[in-house]
């Protein structure tokens, strides 16, 4: 039961896209989650809504916006093309962008819950012991929030693995280049006689998601057993 090259490409692309998506969203998501949970500033609600927009918008609409902004004549696309010679539309990196934007709100939500579970009084103590803000974040907040960061990152990974609407709108469905597992399943469904391949891919993506979730649970529980906020 050999996998076809097309399937193998799709699986590896999906994994690659999902990893990069998490890597790129991680720091901004941590920062925004921290800011949303700790700081009170003008425009906080607006930022909160902005972050959550991809969650409520039809993915196809998000993909459409990306296309408008990032195609070679679009606002950002033209800039990237002229100055860096990069094109993201119809490129695998565009799939990363689409997946990152779609999974961003989920990651921010998970991280934010983590930050909110860290007792700010501990940060106050560290402050009184002479540590500066950055040190406090590094030595108190971050270690206590790591289980939530792992959970959020895995959630982002799983969401990226499953992203379909925005991806296919933005980078289309080119086998070997922009065809992720969901896009491949979609393509197989369009053609008669591919039932077996469809089911195989469905099972595989199911397996990858479950394994990722399991690993995150194990890591998170191992780390949180080192003690969390009292």
């Amino acid at each position: 039961m050999e996998l076809s090259p097309q399937e193998i490409d799709a699986i590896f692309l999906s994994i690659k896209v999902s990893i990069w998506s998490v890597v790129f969203s991680l720091l901004p998501a941590v920062y925004i989650a921290y800011v949303l949970s700790r700081k009170n500033f003008w425009g906080r609600q607006a930022l909160n809504v902005l972050v959550h927009i991809p969650l409520i918008l039809p993915p196809v609409v998000t993909g459409y916006f990306l296309l408008i902004l990032f195609n070679r004549t679009g606002l950002i696309g033209r800039f990237l093309d002229t100055y860096f010679g990069i094109t993201v539309a119809f490129h695998w990196f565009g799939a990363v962008l689409a997946a990152a934007i779609m999974s961003f709100p989920l990651m921010v939500r998970a991280f934010r819950l983590g930050f909110e579970s860290v007792d700010p009084k501990l940060e106050v103590v560290a402050y009184s012991l002479g540590a500066n803000r950055f040190m406090i974040f590094l030595t108190i907040t971050l270690p206590l929030v790591i289980p939530a960061l792992i959970t959020g990152a895995v959630l982002g990974f799983a969401k990226s693995m499953g992203e379909f609407g925005a991806t296919i709108t933005f980078v289309s469905n080119i086998p070997g280049q922009t065809q992720t597992v969901p896009s491949a399943i979609f393509e197989f469904l369009q053609m008669p006689g591919n039932n077996f391949m469809t089911i195989r891919l469905v099972c595989l993506s199911l397996l990858i998601s479950i394994v990722a979730l399991y690993i995150s649970e194990v890591l998170a529980s191992r780390l949180s057993s080192r003690g969390h906020s009292e």
Binding site: A126, A131, M135, P143
Partner: protein
């Protein structure tokens, strides 16, 4: 004076206005909840900004509204011990203690090994905070604060969440800290007995203002303070020296030249103890009675007579430098013809000074 505070803060319809000094040793900030104790702590710590005024620590301004000085929390040099210990849960005791040295303020008040020894922490250095008892947590919190090279310490209700047994386990460490590190310590508390036992100076806060400040035992024995704070049991707080443990189970103490007899207490000879005597446990007489079962008879002068709106009266008796307050009926007052300046005798059954009131 090593701490000078003169600040105002308006928060909604709460107005805090305080002006006080504190020196080396424990100064209690005492008051009921809602009096503004936590607000005052936050203002001194730098977690809140006063509307007006200044805060000086050892003549260095850490806040001044006019000169626009507002030193940040991490540079103020204030060590904290909170009610809830607030140990870092992901760090072992040792890492908690060394936090300041590794990530914050460096410097030495005492060496690591010295402080570990003094607070008896050797055995628990490798434990996580979740595996410590309440008393152990507070000792670690004290050590951590001391190792952060503080200029002053603020202890914010450090015993409030401990039960009686744990309290008496932690108190000796607080006394050691008070007596061996030359630090000004602000001790925030709403507990009369803690404050009476540990502090020499007291600042009584009520509704954001200072009601009274001065020597702890005097202020706590003051009827007006007790009344304003609505303290239930009017008491006198006195200090006496243990001089003999008699074989019949009575401990003899010297109080202003008179003898006091108490059921046996475990305090070494020569040590001072502070006692709390409830006003209702004192009986007054004009003549010195001869055969009476009450052991403690103190001679004093009537210095205060306060008539209540009901049938009662409060009488203040000056014995040496202390004042005893007692509650009698106005009928007795008239029958005995008590007047200011009159000499009388106060009796106290030795058992009426229960051990829980002995605040060694």
């Amino acid at each position: 004076m090593s701490i000078n505070v003169n600040i105002d803060k308006i928060m909604g319809n709460f107005y805090l206005k305080t002006k006080f000094n504190a020196d080396i040793g424990i100064t209690a900030i005492f008051g009921p909840s809602g009096a503004g104790k936590s607000t005052l702590v936050n203002l001194i710590a730098g977690l809140m900004k006063p509307n007006n005024g200044y805060i000086k620590i050892f003549n260095e301004l850490i806040f001044d509204s006019e000169q626009k000085i507002n030193v940040s929390v991490n540079k103020r040099g204030i060590g904290f011990v909170f009610q809830d210990a607030r140990l870092f849960p992901h760090m072992k005791v040792e890492a908690n203690l060394k936090y300041s040295y590794r990530f914050g303020r460096r410097g030495q008040l005492g060496s690591f090994s010295e402080i570990v020894e003094v607070l008896n922490l050797e055995g628990i250095l490798n434990r996580l905070p979740e595996n410590l008892s309440g008393g152990e947590k507070q000792r670690v919190a004290m050590g951590r604060a001391l190792l952060s090279n503080p200029k002053i310490l603020i202890l914010d209700e450090p015993l409030a969440s401990l039960d009686e047994g744990l309290k008496s386990e932690v108190i000796p460490y607080l006394e050691f800290l008070r007596d061996n590190f030359k630090l000004p310590i602000l001790y925030i508390s709403h507990s009369q007995s803690e404050v009476a036992r540990l502090s020499d100076k007291i600042i009584v806060l009520e509704k954001g203002s200072i009601l009274e400040q001065g020597k702890t035992l005097e202020i706590l024995s003051s009827f007006s303070v007790a009344k304003k704070l609505g303290l239930r049991d009017l008491s006198s707080f006195i200090e006496a020296t243990v001089y003999n443990h008699a074989p019949d189970g009575i401990t003899e103490l010297d109080f202003e030249g008179s003898k006091l007899f108490l059921p046996k207490i475990d305090t070494p000879l020569g040590r001072k103890v502070r006692l709390r005597i409830l006003a209702k446990d004192i009986i007054l007489a004009i003549d010195k009675p001869q055969k009476i079962s009450a052991l403690n008879i103190l001679e004093g002068e009537v210095v205060e007579i306060i008539l209540g709106s009901g049938p009662g009266a409060i009488i203040g008796i000056k014995v040496g430098n202390h004042k005893l307050i007692t509650r009698i009926t106005q009928r007795s007052l008239n029958a005995m013809d008590l007047k200011l300046g009159k000499i009388c005798f106060a009796f106290l059954k030795s058992v009426s000074v229960a051990t829980s009131d002995i605040i060694v």
